[in-house]
Symmetry: C2
Subunit: 195 residues, 2 copies
């Protein structure tokens, strides 16, 4: 039987775990249905909990949607942590490997995300934020703390390039993930060393 | 005094000219104000015509907005016509020169356009359509009628790269238009010849 001191930690774990499950359900639901089609009642039903409990965790559908996005972004950020023991270009190759594998596993969600950016400003803001963080990591790894203006521009622009290449890849699927990765690496190298 | 045969052509010219003026006014208005802030009454007042006459040309604000976008896109398409007498890379350099000059002259409109893409699906569709047309022109000029899958991907992705680079340039303005153009050319060459 847990002591009083243990109880809150135990309950906290349950709360976190429930929240994690709801966010996983959210990733699935928002991938399969348009935002406007889903109600909090639908979400609660799909997640197998009461609507009241869902509202306890997330005060509105928008809050739930944003938390779902944030948790997916955190997942990606975790996967794309640079490994400082590798040489710079190998760090970037490893990051891309993890990132492209994640995209391939979540192709439908990723495509939907880029599409939703057209109707949800918070999605655009999230994409911009992921790009900024990633650009900074890449600049740090590849160039160091003092990039030139065009190196900064090249790195930022390359992150847009990735989304363009991914859009093409997911649409056609007529080249391998390794070919895609090498195209991205080659372009980054050429571009960031142009200035 | 015009003959009956001349009358329709004469009136038609007036109609086209009026439409052109309205679309020019639209480009200015939609640059300076959010779409949701503008009413057809505001637009008519700014254009110095009656609301009834405005509705005669454009049945709704959305129609007017879309026609404004389409006319800007046509302007850009006209400016970026390739000159087949030049070698391929010089064609692309010339296209970029005209395009970047247009963006610089319409910086506010362009920034607003990229932002509006987040709330207006028709804006995203237009951007996608301009990218597709341009990608095709560049593939034709640089590679010919049979690009590999990765060359196609590289060219499409590079158009996204341009928007990323432009976003950086318009924000910081700490490198010249020529530096930007050369960064774009260098990246395209490296990228499209990688596969």
């Amino acid at each position: 039987m847990p002591t009083r001191a243990q109880e809150p930690a135990y309950r906290r774990l349950e709360v976190d775990e429930r929240r994690r499950q709801l966010l996983a359900a959210g990733q699935k639901l928002f991938t399969e249905h348009a935002y406007s089609e889903l109600s909090m009642a639908d979400i609660a039903r799909e997640a197998g909990i009461s609507k009241a409990l869902l509202y306890h965790y997330f005060p509105s559908k928008r809050d739930f949607f944003e938390a779902t996005l944030a948790s997916a972004a955190a997942e990606v950020a975790q996967l794309t942590q640079p490994d400082p023991s590798l040489p710079p270009l190998e760090q970037i190759r490893a990051i891309l490997d993890h990132y492209l594998a994640w995209i391939e596993a979540h192709a439908q969600a990723y495509t939907k995300l880029l599409q939703s950016a057209t109707s949800h400003p918070e999605v655009s803001a999230l994409i911009q934020q992921v790009r900024d963080t990633t650009a900074q990591r890449i600049l740090d790894a590849l160039i160091g703390p003092h990039p030139t203006a065009t190196q900064r521009a090249a790195t930022r622009a390359w992150l847009w390039y990735i989304d363009g290449a991914l859009t093409d890849w997911l649409q056609h699927h007529d080249y391998t993930r390794t070919q895609l990765r090498e195209l991205l690496i080659h372009t980054l190298q050429a571009s960031a060393t142009a200035g």
